[in-house]
Symmetry: C2
């Protein structure tokens, strides 16, 4: 949990269900919320009935001004953002100043997210992780979540997957990998986990299905970019013929725990939290 | 070049143009050739007008016997093979004996290829690399192949790509990566380079296009599994909106050098050989 709230809560909203979860949670506690909805990423439902402004990624000055005008003290990032090329960002003067300082193309996601957090703090905001705002037990715990547990073969695939996911995470490439019977079916890069799962359905081999392994990148800016797991992940994993999902315990954000478990049990998949040292 | 030929040349033929190239080259030199055409991989044109036998992957005893019966002394692997799960291999007694000795699921491609080469040598065959049989200058040399050379931005993407490709190669995941303006669009796993390129077309960002980087895996069984580059690679790279291709000099097999250069020049792509220490 973060220390006591400071001012209104600013939520930078990308795609998916997490931003709405953050909004509902904060509003239920009576906290004032102001949302920066990222164009092309946030869904209209996300910002229904809440003070918000749509903003393109490069419009830093506009976003900062709006947050100040709305009394924002704490800022929380939630949801997915497809990282664009610098030219597609069309940075305004404020964003250009930032990129001139930190570089852009030399930074991986981790480096970029850390630099953004630091920049916001230099502007007087406090950056808070989504997991610090949500009271529910939202990070995956160690062990199986549903009725099904991985067998020894699946455990071997999980071990190989963790090794690979850590390595590609250290290179700041991605945080997910699919392993089937020791074969690496796919490695996540910029396309994201959903696209990885869709592709692995076509690459699957005969016999026992594969395992999706998701871990936090070493050195990841955990306040901004945590591995996330929700019912959609389970559905896509089932469609891809996987046997289960292993996610780093204590690091992976779990959206809709009950629905995740129900979907996994219904599809005959395991979802297991693994300790990654 | 390999030492003097020993017996007939056995060619284990997978997909693509390389096996036919090997056959034509050996026949032009008057050498007797016998081809094991891998079911589901080799194309019928590959084995037209040459002594051959179709064989599924797991039928090791049948393949070994046929090669002996046809006087094979040297064996050369050529073309692509989609690695199946062990259950899909349906190993015969000979293959099962081999897999029982070396394991299967614990071996990456490199480990598996090395074990196969060793096993064939223990059976009295000699395993020869495709690059040792083809007289043409078939490995990529250092520097641009066509009219176009990478600029400084592309060089930066190449450098990042080499770093990543080496790392995923060391993990025995794949040997290719696509980088655009510092962003890792995709990493090759079991799907192969062609599928990687097709997917990266949809992931491309605005602005200057990306670069495909292909390197040999560290410790790769170079006689069996070399990175390969042909006109098809150039065509797919162009369709994916890439600016160019960088391939490890001295290691990458170049199929149809002239056509590769013509296709690259026509499409406005660079193809460059890079030194990877």
């Amino acid at each position: 949990m973060a220390d006591k709230p400071s001012g209104a809560l600013g939520i930078i909203a990308g795609s998916g269900a997490l931003p709405r979860r953050l909004i509902d949670n904060a509003q239920a506690k009576g906290r004032k919320v102001f949302v920066i909805a990222l164009e092309g990423e946030a869904e209209p439902e996300t910002v229904a009935n809440v003070a918000h402004m749509w903003c393109r990624l490069g419009a830093a000055a506009k976003a900062l001004r709006a947050m100040r005008d709305n009394g924002v003290g704490d800022i929380c990032f939630g949801g997915g953002v497809r990282r664009p090329s610098l030219s597609a960002v069309r940075p305004d003067w404020r964003a250009a100043k930032f990129f001139a300082k930190v570089g852009y193309r030399l930074l991986g996601d981790d480096g970029l997210f850390s630099a953004i957090a630091k920049e916001l703090e230099s502007e007087g905001f406090r950056v808070i992780g989504a997991h610090d705002l949500l009271d529910e037990a939202v990070t995956v715990s160690v062990g199986p979540l549903g009725r099904i547990a991985p067998d020894a073969d699946a455990e071997a695939d999980i071990a190989r997957g963790v090794e690979i996911a850590r390595a590609i995470g250290a290179l700041d490439i991605g945080q997910a990998v699919v392993v089937q019977q020791g074969l690496v079916l796919g490695v996540e890069a910029i396309e994201g986990t959903d696209a990885l799962l869709r592709r692995c359905g076509e690459l699957r081999r005969d016999g026992a299905g594969g395992v999706l392994v998701k871990v936090e990148k070493p050195g990841q800016e955990a306040r901004i970019d945590r591995p996330t797991l929700g019912p959609q992940t389970v559905r896509l994993a089932a469609e891809a013929g996987l046997r289960g999902i292993a996610a780093e315990a204590g690091a992976t954000l779990l959206l809709d725990r009950d629905e995740v478990i129900r979907a996994a049990d219904d599809a005959g998949l395991f979802v297991v939290g693994v300790r990654v040292s």
